[in-house]
Amino acid sequence: MKELRLMKGNEAISEAAIRAGCDGYFGYPITPQSEIMEYLMLEKPEERTGMIVLQAESELASINMVYGGAACGKRVMTSSSSPGISLMQEGISYMAGAELPSLVVNVVRGGPGLGTIQPSQSDYFQATKGGGHGDYHIITLAPSSVQEMADFVGLAFDLAFKYRNPAMILSDGAIGQMMEKVEFDEHRPRFTNEEIRKNTPWATTGKTPDRERNIITSLDLDPARQELHNIKLQAKYRKIEQNEVRFEKIVCDDAEYVFVAYGTSARICQKAIQLAREKGIKVGLFRPITLYPFPKNEINELSKKVKGMLSVEMSAGQMIEDVLLAAERNIKIEHFGKMGGIIPSPAEVVEALEQKIIGG
């Protein structure tokens, strides 16, 4: 049975994690996402499902707790906001190298540095291009509602296990803090020891006589073998790019122009569409749901049908690089965004469309 609740985006992540059969959460407080651990601590998931929750001494510790747990075949996660996610990059890279499934939630705030605690989308590059060292990608999901905050937890875990790869929910302070109605699925059970042995035979659960020892490592000092490992990783990323693209199109059928936007910016663009259409401007919204893999082909198709695209982001313009790579180049493509933790208003977005794309 579904259950309807009114809650913050951050809390929805926590409740969804308990219901997704998550085995462990490890985190360190940082605004604007501290509610995730606070909710979990209050909710006592250990009594509900056996899920453990631990406040770590740092994000370095959290991500390596996730590494250790993931290596045992467990569904484990952490959450943080931008500065904390920067600290985690070494660990995420290790997990990508060792091919471990895990979930990292980034409720983004404005940077660089300590920046601001206000919402931002300036961690797009870090999330989608492999924010740490080495050639790797993590699957990146961008929710634009509290409902999606909840829904993407289970989805992220499923994708992470399907591809043995870390997954990230890239949200922002606005969606983390806003309250909306959210419908929850029923609990799905945590993996049993039997299931772990069967579904993740690589997991370090203790060497039994019936198998060779399991080793979780990203190290291979032999360049030829390390290259082979990298080739295998790249093949996996191509498969992810082929199979896992997700997006939403809103009133694109008759559109002469489109906004390309995700997360909070996509919500602003929905409002901007109304304003623009009242003025007679036929504009639609293309909303990437997976930022990695990026919906390249769909953007390309769309770019053949419209006169211009405006990439609306709360950053100096990061996703626009992917839009430019994907789209046909004979149309006008520009970026509009606010930095420093400011959410643009729908009117500003329409104005940018008129000035940069239609009039430009």
Partner: protein
């Protein structure tokens, strides 16, 4: 007399002094001849074998000379990021409380880059075993100064000797974590003589038994040599260790059953 030295007479049960440790793989150790890492590996595997817990034991290799420990120990293992093994061990034990979890770490790994993870895992009293090989130097990266490098001791990054005024004093992390209520058993041992090997093995056994009894954190420091990093022959390095390391890092139990040894 002739009869006595025949092979069959020698190969008798009562004459057996050494056999290959069952849970060590056939891989040739990557350690320099004379290095204490190999011996320490062996006694951990002996303990695991003797306790019959191979299928329940998961180890964590550090970043350091022992980075490839998983090549040599025939158990499930994970390879940590530099210094983070105690964080990994924390999660592993909490997610699988019925398993035996140990980390194996060098002094740079445990007492420099991983100091926070070490102290907090100890302070939380995680029910794990930490094996800490203290050779007073960064072996793997070519003999740089470690947090445990002795005052005046030369290394590639303290070529004129460790100047405590500018480089700080060596960190006695073992004494430090012994102060924390979360640690249950803290000891400092060595593996340079058969007698010491036996003592260290006993300590490691106790540390694993403590996990079984859910007593909290056990911490076994092994003061060891790094003949390559110290630029000495193996025997000479052990002598140097006895003369210089032991006075600063005295061997013996520091905390037993949660009580500091007076």
């Amino acid at each position: 007399m002739e009869e006595n030295i025949k092979k069959d007479n020698i190969r008798k049960e009562e004459n057996l002094v050494y056999i290959k440790t069952k849970l060590m793989t056939d891989k040739v150790l990557s350690y320099c001849p004379g290095c204490g890492h190999g011996t320490t590996h062996r006694i951990i595997m002996e303990v695991v074998d003797e306790m019959g817990i191979q299928s329940e034991t998961i180890g964590i290799a550090p970043v350091g000379c022992a980075v490839l420990a998983y090549e040599f120990m025939n158990i499930d293992m994970q390879e940590a990021a530099h210094g983070r093994a105690p964080a990994m061990a924390t999660a592993m034990k909490r997610l699988m409380p019925e398993k035996f979890i140990f980390s194996y770490q060098g002094d740079g790994d445990l007492a420099a880059i991983g100091t926070a993870e070490t102290i907090h895992a100890c302070n939380r009293g995680e029910n794990i075993t930490i094996i800490f090989v203290n050779n007073g130097i960064y072996g793997m990266t070519g003999g740089q100064m470690a947090p445990t490098t002795l005052p005046g001791m030369k290394s590639s990054t303290s070529p004129y000797g460790r100047d405590v005024a500018t480089m700080g004093n060596p960190l006695k992390i073992t004494e430090l974590i012994a102060q924390l209520p979360g640690t249950y058993f803290v000891t400092r041992q060595a593996v340079h003589t058969p007698a010491n090997v036996r003592k260290t093995k006993k300590a490691i056994r106790k540390a694993f038994e403590n996990q079984k009894l859910k007593k909290g954190l056990s911490f076994v420091e092994v003061v060891s040599n790094c003949n390559s990093g110290w630029k000495m022959a193996p025997v000479q390095s052990n002598e140097w260790m006895v003369e210089n390391m032991f006075p600063f890092y005295p061997l013996g139990d520091i905390k037993i059953e949660g009580e500091l040894v007076k």
